[in-house]
Amino acid sequence: MAQTAEQKKAREGWLLSLPALTLLILAASGPLIIIAIYAFLTAGEYSGVIWDLSFKAWFQVLFEKDIFDGTVSLADAHLTIFWRSVRLSLLTTLLTFTFGLPTAWFIATRPLKQRALWLFLITIPFWTNLLVRTFAIMEVLRVEGILNKILTGLHIIPEPLQILYTDTAVLIGMTYVYLPLMVLPLFAAIDRFDFRLIEAGYDLYAGRLTVLRRVILPIIRPGIVAGSILVFVPSLGAYVTPRVLGGGKKMMIGNFIELQFGAGRNWPLGSALALILLLIVGIALIFYVRASASENKDG
């Protein structure tokens, strides 16, 4: 009886979260609904939308009509931007993993007392505004910047490198910005890892690389998947970093969407692009849920 009363109490308890739920639903789905509607409307002449049903925006995502002869061709520029976004995001994920794994491993293998300090150091960049940090990277990468001064000063390269306003600059910037998001979940996974399993691997004739591949990586997989999602998703929608380090020329989806709502004066196209971005992120998240679900089933 007492249990039923408790269950009843628990069932009614959700009412307490109603204000929070309302805020979440309105704040999260409200803008989304607006975007979803705008994507099927006609663009206004100067900005905004005209309330006429139109699929032009979706057509414009992939194709463009020549203004003179009206021939339809693939919108190469758009595809380039999509491809750059996906490619740079994947590369960012790969680079953060490459740097993040040894870092997380290092922290997880420190004595307990030191770990808090190392984790604290990892979070320090979050204290400064992203824009400021991105400008700092600009200062490092520019032709007369610190990196080029050191490299030419040491006669490693004869001429300063033009890194700024290239894909490489965007990649470096995003790797720097999102590295902590990879390190933290990896650390959590390695922290739970039983290091005696490494000895068990060695004992059973597995060399160092094989132990990494067959024992360590499969066991810390949930951390790898979580870190990859946490890096890949914001990378894909990155705005500030490609804007500053790509110099407006090397656009990613985020910048392209912003362009449609600004100078491009094509809100429906911007909305359609935003929905496509959401779709890509959604697919990535489904992959994540699948991966962690199969992990739970295995475990």
């Binding site: 000895e199 068990a200 691997g201 004992d203 059973l204 004739y205 024992v215």
Partner: protein, 355 residues
């Protein structure tokens, strides 16, 4: 002679650097372990037994000395190049692999052909009676089952030597007894040299062909269980293995004189000079209590243990002595505290040790 030696540890020394200076975990230990024998390293925690095991496995390298396997120096080889497998105290089963995958891991790493891996894995599964559990994950098994898988995984590659690091310590008493038999059976069936680490003296006595008793990074005594139990080399070994009464005495001719003034026969008198102060070790089950004119003693306490009754006695000089007597059918030994008895020792039961 040397060709029946499996593991030959020569003056192995292991020193760790700690913040508070260096710690000597192993102090020039030499021991030879024979092929196909069940050899136990016994000692309290911190005696160096696990360090010695880890040196043989290759997880640590000796600071000095060398370790030979079948006559070849393996000191410099990493663990994955040594034909030696370990059953870990924590089992260390791979959580992401099934029982079958865990067991076949070693064989796969050795590059054995697929059909051989499958055949051997099935064989070993059968050997440890885990065939029905082959497709489960380690987390779905009980402690005893995980133990069997750990054993199977280490046995599957048919190592020259199997190292067991307190593998039974996590099991409850009943299961532990069962696994002791199981281990012994596996050792006899496979003929593999077993090196077993434990702090449980009973486990060491019941399972081993030979036992090495260790303390403070040294081996104090190596011998078969009977030797160790009946002729311990010193007070520590006598005390660590089973229960022992210690009495102070001096050498008096071919006998020893107790503090009470009585003289008793003892083995090991020859090794000491006349009048030397020594310690006598007498097992409680070798103490006889009767009224046939032995040492005078007073009963201080009786403790009933079921099969045995322990009689705590006080001798004339105040020194204490425990006698272990078989309980009579009624359970009543018929002696209450304060009773006067006389005590004698079974022939050959009194051992003379260094003072």
């Amino acid at each position: 002679m040397t060709n029946n030696i499996s593991v030959d540890v020569r003056s192995a020394r292991k020193v760790y650097d700690a913040t508070s200076g260096t710690v000597v975990a192993l102090d020039s230990v030499s021991v030879q372990i024979r092929k196909g024998e069940f050899f136990t390293l016994l000692g309290p925690s911190g005696c160096g037994k696990t360090t010695l095991l880890r040196l043989i496995a290759g997880f640590e390298s000796p600071t000095a000395g060398e370790i030979l396997l079948n006559g070849t120096d393996i000191s410099g080889k990493p663990p994955f190049e040594r034909p030696v497998n370990t059953v870990f105290q924590s089992y260390a089963l791979f959580p992401h692999l099934t029982v079958r995958q865990n067991i076949s891991f070693g064989l796969e790493m050795l590059g054995r052909p697929k059909d051989e891996v499958a055949r051997k894995t099935d064989e070993v599964l059968e050997l440890v009676k885990m065939t029905a559990m082959a497709d489960r994950k380690p987390q779905q098994l009980s402690g005893g089952q995980q133990q069997r898988v750990a054993l199977a995984r280490a046995l599957a590659p048919e190592p020259e030597v199997l190292l067991l690091d307190e593998p039974l310590s996590a099991l409850d008493l009943k299961l532990r007894k069962e696994m002791q038999h199981e281990l012994k059976r596996l050792q006899l069936e496979t003929g593999i040299t077993f090196i077993f680490v434990t702090h449980d003296q009973e486990e060491a006595l019941t399972m081993s062909d030979r036992v090495a008793v260790m303390r403070d990074g040294r081996i104090l005594q190596v011998g078969n269980p009977r030797d160790i139990y009946t002729r311990p080399v010193d007070r520590f070994v006598a005390d660590f293995i089973g229960e022992t009464n210690f009495l102070s005495a001096t050498i008096d001719g071919k006998k020893v004189r107790l503090a009470t003034g009585d003289t008793v026969a003892a083995s090991g008198v020859e090794a000491h000079s006349e009048g030397a102060a020594v310690t006598l070790a007498i097992r409680p089950e070798q103490v006889r209590v009767d009224d046939k004119g032995g040492l005078a003693a007073t009963v201080a306490e009786t403790v009933y243990f079921g099969t045995d009754t322990h009689l705590h006695l006080t001798l004339g000089d105040g020194s204490e002595l425990v006698a272990r007597l078989q309980s009579p059918p009624s359970g009543e030994i018929g002696l209450s505290p304060g009773a006067k008895v006389s005590v004698s020792f079974t022939e050959g039961a009194v051992q003379v040790l260094e003072h």
